[in-house]
Symmetry: C2
Subunit: 342 residues, 2 copies
Amino acid sequence: MNKNNTTTDKHRSSAAITLDNVAKIAGVSAITVSRAINTPDKVAPETLKKVREAIDKTGYVPNLLAGGLASRSSKLIAAIVPSIANLVYSSTIRLFSKSLSKAGYQVILGDSGYPEVLEEELVRTILSRRPDGIFLTGVDHSPSCRNLLLAANIPIVETWDLTPSPLDIVVGFNHMDVGHAVAKFILSKKYNKVGFVTANDARALLRQRSTLEILSQSGVSDIYATTVPAPTSLEYGRIGAKQIIEEGFDSGVIFCTSDTLAQGVLAEIQSRNISIPDTIAVIGFGDQVFAAHTYPALTTVRIDRERIGQEAADALLARIQKRPVKNKIIDIGFSIIEREST
Amino acid sequence: MNKNNTTTDKHRSSAAITLDNVAKIAGVSAITVSRAINTPDKVAPETLKKVREAIDKTGYVPNLLAGGLASRSSKLIAAIVPSIANLVYSSTIRLFSKSLSKAGYQVILGDSGYPEVLEEELVRTILSRRPDGIFLTGVDHSPSCRNLLLAANIPIVETWDLTPSPLDIVVGFNHMDVGHAVAKFILSKKYNKVGFVTANDARALLRQRSTLEILSQSGVSDIYATTVPAPTSLEYGRIGAKQIIEEGFDSGVIFCTSDTLAQGVLAEIQSRNISIPDTIAVIGFGDQVFAAHTYPALTTVRIDRERIGQEAADALLARIQKRPVKNKIIDIGFSIIEREST
DNA sequence: CACAGAAATGACAGCGCTGTCACAGCACCA
DNA sequence: TGGTGCTGTGACAGCGCTGTCATTTCTGTG
């Protein structure tokens, strides 16, 4: 309330504490305070002590807007995800943030899940903060976005998918391979009919299509499929299951493109008093934390979401610190986890 | 690749496009470009057109670090939440971000859910970005945090709880009232035994305690309670239910401090082939999107999480724009939604 | 037709920090 | 004893933008 304004000089009001104030109090120059904060090993121990005391006394909080402008490094990493309210992405982002914060970077999130906001607009907004790197979900971007992104001249990591020609680095897995693997799993179990509850999302649809591909090659033709809106929810899982059951699906296996959908499918089946997995089996996707604990426990495709975040952070840091990046294409793979629902 | 660097003047490399570049191309001064971007109605239509063309041609993206430094307004709002991977908070944050982005503000998230990171440290980091306002979850902050926050001299909104003495503004509901209301609901249903699966979190514990208070006043003494770690998960719901059932709880109602826990409780009960709600009834908390669609549909306490985000954004904007704030304490209330699980 | 007042534009300084270069002081070795 | 190289510190300019005030041009009115 009162210990501000050492110099009531200017017409601008309520002077916040600046580097200069701290420097004056510590009896050193501003640049020394800067070094004491950012590269303390380049400052003599006694000087450091004086500076630290001055900082404590004043309650100085550095201004990273100014720092970023001067150093041309904002210490900000942008991440664009389809929805922060989707657990699928949040566990990845959580590890991503955590790894980066250890290195002194902060993550700023952009939510691309609002159809009314153009992706390009979002990217512009984000880039105006001058992030030192950017995390993207997916590998499909509009040409204008690609241009913006490339012009920004910062490290980029695309995630959740794979492409032979990433903008910079890509960390993900092959959705077609997932589809094929699930198809083989289904075939090995000799289910007579196969149902699909698929979210209306490019990657989910690809997984479904590639499952179907192998299935029809192998002569499995009793297929019941429905597409539900993205993002997935338990409700849409129930609706999807209801649909295919009413179309005549009465036994076999249902492959859902997310564990959340699968959870809804389980509920719908149970509400009809149909036994799982004896009459209808269910396969999810993602291996969310809850998948192992539903009743019955869910057979699903495990994706190491945390690892995506970790690898993305590592790759970005390597690029930023101009260390060599071993691999521009990082495939984290997947595995089928068999539990009680099949 | 080539249309950069109009002036290869300095030793600094790879010149990005700046306001000055755009101004030169448009044949106006830098400040006019600034106005064309920020206050277009103060610029003549023809000038605006010229400037817009120059911006399009160059692909100029404003630098908000510089802008924020000069204008002393970062257009950034900080939000501190226990975990971005928790849907309870993410739906609030989503609406909060959305409302603010319409007004030209961006939200930067801080995750306070890592016990190894001190809250004070988090707040410092966030404040170093010079946000124009801050969103806090909960009303309990360490004294050092309060000081930091107050010294920042920016609008603050605390959420998810109520207090007679907010730092600035508070948007939430009364957890004790929730407990009382649930107790009355339980009494009205005449359950003989009451179980609690409670997350180890201050607000959840308060809800449980206040439920218990009314219950014991009314002579209900057959109580089975267990506390599970926060954040809540389906798994802990199952574990909690298992515990109280093994302690002898065989009929009545279980009140869970989150819908996620309740979902786990449902699963555990079903896995034991106990009928819901005839033998054991279940009450959740939060009314998450899935609550209406579980099997059986979950009776729960509805909290309008989106409204918390909306009101918080509105209040913050009012403060920032120096409009009067009608109410510093905003109680959004709650309601009990009765479904099939009771 | 002169002049007040609004509308449109520009010049300039400075927001708070850091990169760069310069320099003082000191230990060490031939 | 002089030079070499290191450590610690400071002066200075400038990052890219906007607040402020000054200036010019364009209305409309009596």
